[in-house]
């Protein structure tokens, strides 16, 4: 290990997190995922692989879904981050959340926040995706419990009901 010359200090990050102006300090090498969970205290975003292959850590960054394990916390300074914690209206559920419950689209539930954040981004862009489009859009999110059947149906149901 070579000693580096530049000291690695934490960097201030100011972003809009779930609609709220939020400031925190993150190590420059820290992922957005780790900062959300360990610094900000929002543990709804899950780590499944830490290399962008399972989608459990999906958040929305300036309106586009990303794997937060592959984003540096320092990058989100001045940007808009939306996580599962910001999805439901006060004292209510988002139609997708309701549909996931009614369709039994979760078993263990660890992948659920990632799927919900990803599915919301899809329905915001395309209110009536067909089954193939839903499956394609959600291909970056792994679920090992459900075989995806009920997840796809829940997204279809939410799409139908929000018309």
């Amino acid at each position: 290990m070579t000693q580096q010359e530049t000291p690695v200090r934490k960097v201030p990050v100011a972003c809009t997190l779930n609609g709220q102006q939020t400031e925190f300090l993150a190590a420059p090498y820290q992922s957005l995922l780790e900062a959300l969970r360990e610094v900000v205290g929002l543990t709804g975003t899950k780590e499944g692989c830490n290399d962008g292959n399972c989608g459990a850590c999906t958040v929305s960054l300036d309106g586009r879904i990303v794997d937060s394990c592959l984003v540096l916390a320092a990058e989100v300074d001045g940007r808009q981050v939306d996580t599962i914690e910001g999805m439901a209206p006060p004292h209510g559920l988002h139609p997708l959340q309701q549909a996931f419950l009614e369709e039994a689209a979760l078993q263990c539930g660890i992948c659920t926040p990632g799927f919900l954040v990803a599915a919301r981004a899809l329905l915001e862009r395309e209110p009536h995706p067909d089954e193939h489009r839903i499956r394609l859009w959600l291909a970056g999110n792994l679920c090992r419990c459900t075989g995806y059947d009920k997840i796809v149906r829940a997204v279809q149901r939410a799409a139908d009901e929000t018309t």
Partner: protein, 290 residues
Amino acid sequence: MHPFIYVAPRTLDEAVAVLEQHGERARPFAGGTDVLVQLRGGRFDLDAIVDMKGVPEATTLELNGSLRIGAAVPCYQVYENSAVAAAFPGLIDAASLIGGIQIQSRASLGGNLCNASPSADGICPLIVHSTVAVVRGPQGERRVPVEEFCTGPGATVLERGELLVALEVPAPARGFGAAYQRFIPRNEMDIAVAGVGSALTLDTDGTTIASGRIALAAVGPTPLFAAKASAFLAGKPATPETFAEAGEIASTEATPIGDMRGTAEHRVELVKVLTRRTLAVALGRAQANR
């Protein structure tokens, strides 16, 4: 992970200065979809990450007949731009299949090139489009044809302090068509077992191939320009027989290994099939472009 600092320069000169200062211990950073994974896997350590997303030259997508893709432009900006999508469907083939939607929000074709993976999906279509990589370094700017950019697995022509600024894709000639396909065992989220990019330009008669370019992925140490198969196409009729023969020739230019993603024999077969299939798609696009 070895601690590193995060630098977000606003100009190319600033970025070059940081890279020059740290040498191999700094890297340009766009989507992070490769570099962060490699850092966590212990493949190398860095002292500084240079985020290119604040540098205008690296983040601009310009269509002016020819196409200039800033090195940090994420895939989705390429495929969601309807003018680009109409003019360069062969590039869209690749930009829309790298990773899943989450990855496409971040990963860039420039990053895909700099990562220099033998199986990179983005590089073959750039090669068959005769794309030039615009490189900036302490000595100024230089331009490198994409097929010469990668020198080995994970290795490129970039010298200390140099970075990729943008990719310049020439305006497609009349009668030009290109396509990229890869083979993966799943339907998404996999690394190519083999990939082929093909392009051809039809003669004015609309049935003869004036010139063609074929590039192969995951069948050698770098994505490679299949020179023999490409040369073979010139002057040939644009027929399934020609495409099949081009595939046979291309397969002789492949030097695959067998690994967890597929056997060497399978990869050779895939080169034949994908060459044939991509040429057929490219032909359709070329005919539409006359």
